[in-house]
């Protein structure tokens, strides 16, 4: 094994994670990308999506809403506007949010309102997906 990479996740509110991991998959704005130890230098913006990281055969998930990622051969730094660990997401609340956003989207309105509703729908769906998967997977 070529060793591990240090994954650090920070948001303006706090440092969420600092851990040695084997693999990271992040939601780049141009598509998902995977990082293994020894990756070349890389800088990317992130969109709304799911961050996965693997330690051994244990994979964890995290919801990321925009941000930046800096990759060096030994380290991945994720600077997210918002990030939530799967186990911290409240499924019921996320489900409620999905419904609310769908309703708002149907109601229509100004273009800016529609756009906003689309974004919040996307966010809510992501949260719901991640949280449900974790729950089913029987994550510790």
């Amino acid at each position: 094994m070529a060793g591990k990479i240090l994954l650090e996740v920070v948001t303006p509110e706090k440092q969420l994670l600092s851990q040695q991991v084997d693999e990271v998959i992040a939601p780049g704005s141009e598509g998902e990308f995977g990082v293994l130890p020894g990756h070349c230098h890389f800088l990317s913006t992130l969109k709304i999506g799911e961050l996965r990281y693997r330690v051994g055969d244990q994979t964890s998930h995290m919801a990321i809403l925009w941000g930046y990622a800096e990759v060096t051969p030994t380290k991945v730094t994720i600077m997210a506007e918002v990030a939530e660990k799967a186990e911290d997401i409240d499924v019921d609340r996320a489900t409620a949010k999905v419904e609310e956003a769908e309703r708002r989207l149907q109601a229509g309105g100004l273009p800016s309102e529609v756009k906003e509703a689309q974004i919040s729908l996307e966010k809510a769906r992501l949260r719901k997906k991640i949280a449900e998967r974790t729950r089913k997977g029987g994550h510790a």
Partner: protein
């Protein structure tokens, strides 16, 4: 020998002062707790951002983004971060003194100096001097939010691009601990490669071995202005936490100094003199 009554009056006056300073100390302590939590939470993000930027500035062409440009330094801007309120010991005095010193240094080197000031105290001081105040923000600390940072960071970045100044330094109080502040002079524009802090992360990397996604230009456009907002926010939070810490310490000292102990002793001397015993009270 002052009369017993005048001593009593004085003692009660001191006690009233103590009540006020004590209350102010408690208020400061409560505010300190909140602002301390905020700055400690915000630091990792801001420091990471700075690390990324200083890495980046080593690698990209400086002409790639107007905010990374290095020009010959003729005009210097100093952002002076003070508080809106006083009664916080040397908090503002230290900042103002350091800033004035810095201004003179720059002037001695033949540079023109402009001032941007945050906080009523700094504004009041520099208003009475001859230096040019280009911009001022007061009242931001009442309800400090990221909006203020966007406002201040935006103004400064715009003016840097317009060429109002070629270099920007910030003078502010860093929050070290509840009872310790440190005056920091920090260069914000243009970004330097790993002069500060980022040194550990900034392992030299051969140029070219770096991928950007999306393209370099888009990425810089998104990242660089954001960086300055984040730094402005951090600096405001540092200053807010430091201010409450300084006020707490100052009010604690004031409460102690207002102790009517010596007066009480003198009062006891009078009241316990033979013949005055029947007057003895409190």
């Amino acid at each position: 020998m002052p009369s017993l009554q005048s001593l009593r009056r004085k003692i009660s006056a001191f006690k009233n002062t103590q009540k006020i300073t004590k209350a102010m100390k408690m208020v400061a302590a409560a505010k300190l707790k909140r602002s301390q939590d905020r700055i400690l939470a915000a630091r990792p993000y801001a420091h990471k951002m700075r690390g990324v930027l200083s890495n980046l500035s080593q690698r990209v062409n400086r002409t790639a983004h107007p905010l990374l440009q290095k020009r010959e330094v003729k005009k210097v801007e100093i952002l002076v971060v003070t508080s809106d309120r006083g009664l916080c010991g040397g908090f503002n005095g230290n900042i103002v003194r350091k800033s004035a010193e810095f201004v003179r240094q720059c002037e001695a080197q033949g540079m023109t100096v402009g001032l941007s000031i945050v906080g009523r105290k700094g504004r009041d001081y520099f208003r009475r001097r001859t230096w040019l105040i280009r911009q001022e923000w007061t009242g931001v600390f009442d309800k400090l939010s990221f909006e203020h940072a966007i406002d201040i960071g935006g103004d400064l970045t715009d003016n840097f691009i317009k060429g109002t100044f070629d270099e920007l330094h910030v003078v502010y109080n860093e929050f070290k601990s509840a009872i310790q502040q440190r005056v920091i002079v920090e260069k914000l524009f243009p970004v330097d490669a790993a002069v500060e802090f980022g040194a550990a992360q900034a392992a030299p990397v051969s140029a070219g071995a770096y991928l950007y996604e999306p393209g370099e230009a888009e990425l810089l456009n998104a990242l660089v202005p954001k960086h300055f907002q984040v730094q402005a926010y951090r600096i405001l939070l540092e200053s807010a936490a430091a201010e409450h810490g300084a006020r707490m310490a100052a009010m604690d000292g004031a409460t102690r100094n207002a102790a009517p102990a010596s007066l009480s002793r003198r009062r006891r001397c009078i009241t316990t003199r033979p013949g005055r015993r029947r007057l003895r009270k409190n």
